[in-house]
Amino acid sequence: MLEKISQEQFVALITGASIIPEEKPDRSQNDRLKVYKDLVYYRFYEVLKNIYPLFRKEVGDEAFENLVRRFIGENPREPLIWKMPNEFRNFLCSRKELLPLTPAAEDLLSYEWSEVELLMGDYSEIAKTQSPGFSPDLPLAFSRSARKLKLTFRVYAGDYTSSGEFYVVLYYNFSDYRVHFLEITPFMFDLLGPFDVENGFSPEAALTGTASKYNVSKDEIGEVVFKTLGEYCQKKILVRV
């Protein structure tokens, strides 16, 4: 169908898709093709620039723009434009050769995308519930309004050079409607793992398992750990099931 060929050529030209048909659309309208190319580019660029300000700053404007153009040509498929940056992130993380510019790139993408996901969540049920009083025996679950990340760089503290193993909890703050972070220890990161279940998990059992793994006395650290978990309940990082 003539129409299909014409549309295919048009889209290939304005997106820079890898396969460009041999026959070109009406070249007398080259300037107008460029307008569409720019419109498509800026549609992506504006969204990605807003979602990944730290990543963009770190890789530099020119490299960022090239990555955006490369991504547009790779047939992004996400219908909802706010989720497109996650596809951009996945694309870059699967094509690591495109990211030689900064070692912290993957962490920045992961951290900044987690912030956006948390801002866009529907926490109607969580918001309505009162923070549960903490009890070591009552099961708790890790909240949808929080994320745990294991990172190679302390990107949340603006350090993109000293590598290591760093752990952070990002959580939605229901008072100021912003995403906050807490740097946590490897012990706390492991302790929070068992709470990633729908039916919840007992803090007592989580402590038992993690203390054993780290070969520390549960009795010695119990008070401090439970106090911290109680604070997480206040912040709705952990919620009653």
Partner: protein, 282 residues
């Protein structure tokens, strides 16, 4: 005519939804109806969710989609259309409009409204696809005339193409007078003659908006980011003389404070009021 939709409306935006909901509650401002873009509210920042839902239960609503891509050759993305349908059903939104254009190719997104070839086979194809979409959504799809900066292959004038698709599907039209005006400037035709050629009785509601001139490209772009120009107000009057229909001002970029939106709305009310008297657009 769209049931429950009369006189003038506004486009609801995240930027002012909280203030808008407060205004509704306090009785400060209540437009005839609001238009929302499902793709911007299917997911939304949690801080605006309560305000949005308050507006949904307090106001008459028209949904104006962005992602249907009715002119793409691939079949409708049923998974995505289900998301749209669930959203419309959840909030009890009966009226749904979309663009006579395409934005995807074999599932790849451009997020831009691209011009469809204006040919008889394309009209047949779109009409058939539109019927499937309407059947799935269990609502008619109101079709909007789009802007185009590149002239696609065409074997008939744009107005005839729109009329053909509308006739084949018996769909109502969303007439965007700014789009007509912008196309007339970029492609050198008389916008009033275009309106005369259009099957204007199908008009369910009307968009007006602002546009911007880019001298380096010698091109007018439908930016939805500026005030409505005098020429577009004049064209709106020309349309209203022929088909009084509910109308609204669209703003998608450079969203001003709500007070400015209200001023635009008041101007729209003033301009259109004489045409609503005694014509059933109560």
């Amino acid at each position: 005519m769209l049931e429950g939709i009369s006189r003038c409306g506004i486009g609801l935006r995240r930027e002012f939804v909280v203030e808008f909901a407060e205004g509704l509650r306090a009785g400060r401002f209540r437009p005839g109806w609001v238009e929302i873009t499902p793709e911007n509210w299917i997911d939304m920042p949690f801080r605006v969710r309560d305000a949005f839902e308050e507006v949904m239960v307090s106001c008459r609503v028209v949904a104006h989609g962005l992602s249907l891509s009715i002119g793409s050759p691939e079949p409708v993305d049923i998974q995505h259309l289900s998301v749209i349908k669930n959203f419309l059903d959840k909030y009890g939104i009966e009226h749904y409009s979309e663009h006579l254009s395409y934005s995807t190719w074999n599932g790849s997104q451009t997020y831009e409204l691209l011009p469809v070839p204006m040919t008889a086979p394309m009209a047949d194809f779109i009409a058939d696809k539109l019927k499937r979409v309407s059947d799935f959504l269990q609502r008619p799809v109101i079709l909007e005339n789009a802007t185009y900066y590149y002239r696609p292959p065409a074997e008939m004038p744009e107005a005839e193409f729109i009329n053909t698709v509308a006739r084949k599907t018996d769909c109502p039209l969303l007439l965007d007078v700014n789009n007509v005006y912008v196309n007339s400037l970029n492609h050198g035709f008389d916008p009033r003659a275009f309106i005369d050629d259009l099957d204007i009785d199908r008009t369910a509601y009307i968009h007006t908006a602002g546009h911007t001139y880019y001298p380096q490209d010698n091109l007018f772009i439908d930016t939805h980011g500026a005030a409505v120009s005098g020429e577009v107000w004049d064209l709106l009057l020309y349309v209203m003389q022929r088909k009084p229909a509910p109308a609204m001002v669209e703003r998608d970029n450079n969203i001003p404070p709500l007070a400015e939106i209200v001023s635009e709305y008041d101007r729209l009310l003033e301009v259109t009021a004489p045409f609503y008297e005694g014509v059933g657009v109560a």
